[in-house]
Assembly symmetry: C2
Homo-oligomer: 115 residues x 2
DNA sequence: CTGAATCCCTCACGATACTG
DNA sequence: CAGTATCGTGAGGGATTCAG
């Protein structure tokens, strides 16, 4: 099995590396919503079901520092913060799209239908 | 956000459903190894770094009951157990392959090289 | 409005020992 | 050889409160 280090953490597969960057419950939903438009914090909060401020801000910060997103603070009153996707972020969209398609086909074969 | 139920668990995205089936540390590595050949338990154990018997057997059992793998017990002495991929399992290979490719490209851009 | 800080809890996973 | 049983741990995530 391959094996490599990043940030003092051991990885065994490239897939594992992908999930360390854009895995977890909320990162792909965030990227997906930003794929073709700029969105502010409160809009993300509203559009992603059940996400807490803690998880949303934590994931946004990580996606920014990993280069997938950009953050723009507009000094109005009240303050407005806009998030947009970078080119690196856009490179993740095809794989997310493929995962969605595969998910829908799996659900269909498993007899699950959306509400 | 979409929302649906399966096994009394709530899902919000198709991607989430995919990970509930083939996510976690070992399921994709297992599927990947079985994509073009039949492999027995001890061979899987050897080829997947650091996997414990507990996790390997647990994941194999789930993949079988979810229809991704098939298990064949050969009554020799000592006993031999072979795992093979099903058609449903094979449908997951393209997405795993795409995740691998994306992982390698991410690693390259992040300046990581395999040992 | 946009978060950060704190506390708690669950569950995936690891280690070890044991069995048909 | 191919697992199961048991116990322990840590990281991801939820709820709540506070702050610029």
């Amino acid at each position: 099995m391959p094996e490599f280090l990043s940030d003092n953490k051991k990885y065994y597969t490239p897939v594992e590396y992908v999930f360390s960057k854009i895995g977890g419950t909320y990162k792909m939903p965030i990227l997906w919503r930003l794929k073709d438009k700029i969105v502010r914090y409160s809009e993300l909060k509203k559009s992603i079901s059940n996400v807490s401020d803690r998880m949303l801000s934590k994931n946004l910060k990580e996606l920014c520092s990993d280069g997938f997103l950009e953050k723009k603070i507009i000094a109005e009153v009240p303050v407005r913060v806009e998030y947009s996707i970078t080119e690196k972020g856009n490179n993740s969209i095809p794989i997310i799209s493929a995962l969605r398609d595969y998910g829908f086909s799996l659900m269909e074969k498993d007899g699950i239908n959306k509400k």
